[in-house]
């Protein structure tokens, strides 16, 4: 009997170790804890990379703002920090971790929104116990230059701010860089196919639960327009549709291109772990405007295009990437 307890203990220990090892799955990282610029209040201009925050209060991150001289403050406040990203981060998946934020946050990188967790008033919903992890699209990163992170926070009561956990930027390995990056704003509607009359704006990548569709499971559609030149449409292209939770169907200019997981059958289980690469048949993409629609079925919990890269790449570059990434024995 004692032997069994030892074995179980060893198993638990090894599980914990593997879990810890996973938590630092970056080949390099930048610690961005320490002094950040801070101001209570709310102003959309504060998201801008060009905004001058030199007169703002310096505050320790992570910490509760109640401990940094803002005792009893509830409501909106902004955090800003300027950082340099070294050349070694180029063409890698770059992740921004902000630990735990109490209660709701919205994050801007060089002025562009990259994600949100929880929901601001008037549809307030806290996310104080969610670990913040945002993918920074490569197109927004200025390698070797100044990059600005701006975090808008809303606290409904008790402790507030970027309160605890690792606050850092990590490089998570080589990533395929699309010729046409389609991360950012897409139109989104619930239902089996895209419906422009009920559409709302949504960020890709990112789960829809954090973007006004908390608790929604089932069918939804993402849509966006992409303008292409003749030079681009003359090549064979691959649509990188990222990692989707759970199943999807891709349509370009109304034509069905491909599907992953049980979109129609609603049989899911593995497809939310897989990255989508759809080769686009010749003649589908046209010079000028093209319409991309990604229909998604989510069986439960988080849903949407969760992880990038999302975009179009020529098959030639696509092949080069996988050749370079090949594991050699």
């Amino acid at each position: 009997m004692r032997k069994i307890i030892y074995i179980i203990a060893a198993l638990i220990a090894s599980l914990l170790i593997s879990k810890l090892a996973k938590a630092s799955d970056y080949n390099q990282q930048i610690n961005i804890e320490g002094k950040w610029s801070f101001k209570i209040g709310d102003d959309p201009d504060w998201a801008s990379a060009r905004f001058n925050d030199s007169d703002w209060t310096k505050i320790e991150v992570p910490s509760r703002w109640e401990d940094e001289g803002f005792q009893g403050y509830d409501g909106y406040a902004w955090f800003r920090k300027t950082i340099t990203i070294p050349p070694s981060f180029k063409d890698q998946k770059v992740i921004l971790e902000l630990g735990y934020i109490d209660d709701v946050d919205e994050v801007f990188f060089n002025g562009e929104k990259i994600g949100q967790t929880g929901s601001f008033p008037p549809y307030y919903s806290t996310a104080y116990n969610a670990f913040r992890k945002y993918e920074i699209p490569g197109r927004l990163i200025r390698i070797d230059g100044k990059n600005t992170i701006a975090v808008r926070v809303y606290d409904s009561g008790l402790e507030g701010g970027i309160v605890r956990g690792n606050v850092r930027i990590g490089a998570a390995g080589l990533i395929i860089v699309p010729d046409i990056d389609l991360s950012g704003k897409w139109a989104f509607s619930k239902g089996r196919s895209y419906n422009s009359t009920s559409a709302k704006q949504i960020l890709v990548p990112g789960q829809w639960e954090n973007q006004g569709f908390d608790g929604y499971d089932g069918y939804a559609a993402y849509s966006r327009k992409v303008e292409l030149t003749k030079q681009q449409t003359d090549q064979k292209m691959v649509m990188l549709a990222g990692r989707i939770d759970d199943a999807d169907e891709l349509y370009i200019n109304g034509q069905f291109i491909g599907s992953t997981g049980g979109y129609k059958t609603q049989e899911t289980g593995w497809s939310h772990k897989e990255f989508r690469n759809y080769t686009i048949p010749a003649g589908v993409l046209k010079p000028g405007n093209n319409f991309i629609e990604i229909r998604i079925y989510d069986s439960g919990s988080e849903g949407g295009i969760l992880e990038g890269p999302v975009g179009l790449i020529s098959q030639t570059k696509f092949i080069q990437f996988w050749k370079a990434k090949r594991i050699r024995y």
Binding site: S259, R276, N277, Y278, K325, I327
Partner: protein, 351 residues
């Protein structure tokens, strides 16, 4: 005590079996294709053409999931390999074996499409658990400078030519022993009907099934349970005076055979576990009593498949004379035994 005794015999034998080698039985290689292939992600119809230069492609080992080289890759991938033929037999079928391909494939030899399993977009259908076997027209093959190209689409998880005990082009050594070759199209139905065993039963409305071949590879992807095969054939006059045998290759899982309305034999172990896990490995040889023989004959095979693939899945299928059946049986005995399951081993050890 008795239990201990049995285990002391079984365990060392099981250990021995792990090291026993795998040998193809009736199918003999004329070109083994296991090993290094050229590979590229992406999709381009030109890659099927032998003239397309693929010298810049990566080299990967077949069979293996392509994730071994390209972590997390999903989508299209193409395999190419040049090969020569050792010696082309004068007659008999030639088949290409590619093991299991995840999910869909399309195969070209010297630029000519020889087969496809599963379905590509827009009507995607995975066939990841189907062992690929394609009949190859012999006039397609040259002695040297043959090019095989395999186009694969993988939806997710493992992808590519992932596994297989036999990867290559083979001819059926045993087929030369058949006096009447019964491989090809048989009448087939999955509905139980009365009088189905009767020689005069009307099967004109039935569909057909290729023999040998699994149901799963022929449009019945998930069929378990019963299937009835019927075949009408004539026996040449010169064989009438001889003792003849009906050979049905291998059947997954059990079968009952009727010859001109009479039960000829069956392979159906009494123990359920053996029936479901070992019977599919047995070679079917049934002696035909001379009183049953006619100039025109009808064979009915009732097959029961318990799980996975089913049907008369491996040849030879046909009529053999006593002399040839002896050669065939000797050949089978020489095969080294190899067991997929505990029950196969038990069946073998206590048979």
């Amino acid at each position: 005590m008795k239990r201990t005794h049995q285990l002391s015999i079984i365990l060392p034998m099981l250990l021995l079996l792990i090291t026993s080698n795998v040998k193809a039985s009736d199918w003999t290689y004329i070109a083994s294709l296991e090993g290094q292939w050229q590979f590229s992600v992406g999709d381009d119809p030109d890659w099927a053409k032998p003239s397309t230069d693929v010298s810049g492609w990566d080299r990967i080992f077949v069979p293996a999931a392509w994730e071994r080289y390209y972590e997390g890759y999903n989508g299209y991938g193409w395999y190419r390999k040049d090969f020569s033929i050792k010696s082309l037999p004068a007659e008999g079928p030639i088949a290409l074996f590619l093991g299991c391909i995840d999910d869909v494939d399309e195969v070209f030899i010297n630029g000519v499409k020889v087969g496809q399993t599963g379905s590509f977009f827009p009507h995607f259908k995975s066939a990841y658990n189907v062992e690929r076997k394609y009949d190859i027209p012999r006039n397609l093959l040259k002695t040297t400078n043959n090019v095989i190209a395999v186009r694969v689409y993988d939806e997710g998880r493992d992808g590519g030519i992932v596994s297989g005990r036999r990867i290559g082009i083979c001819y059926d050594n045993d087929n030369s022993l058949l006096s009447v070759n019964l491989s090809g199209k048989w009448k087939f139905s999955t509905y139980r009907q009365s009088n189905v065993n009767n020689e005069n039963f009307d099967d004109s409305k039935w569909g057909t099934m290729d023999v040998p071949g699994t149901w799963e590879s022929q449009g019945l992807p998930d069929h378990d349970g019963y299937g009835w095969y019927r075949k009408r054939f004539t026996i040449p006059a010169n064989l009438n005076s001889q003792k003849l045998y009906l050979v049905l290759g291998k059947i997954d899982d059990t079968d009952r055979v009727y010859f001109n309305g009479n039960q000829l034999g069956r392979t159906e172990s009494r123990n359920y576990n053996i029936r479901a896990n070992a019977d599919y490995r047995k070679n079917r040889i049934y002696e035909i009593p001379s009183r049953m023989l006619k100039a025109e004959n009808v064979v009915v095979v009732e097959v029961n498949d318990y799980k996975g693939v089913g049907g008369i899945y491996e040849g030879p299928v046909g009529i053999m004379t006593e002399k040839d059946v002896e050669i065939y049986s000797d050949r089978l005995k020489k095969e080294s035994h190899e067991f997929n399951s505990f029950w196969e081993f038990i069946d073998y050890a206590f048979d």
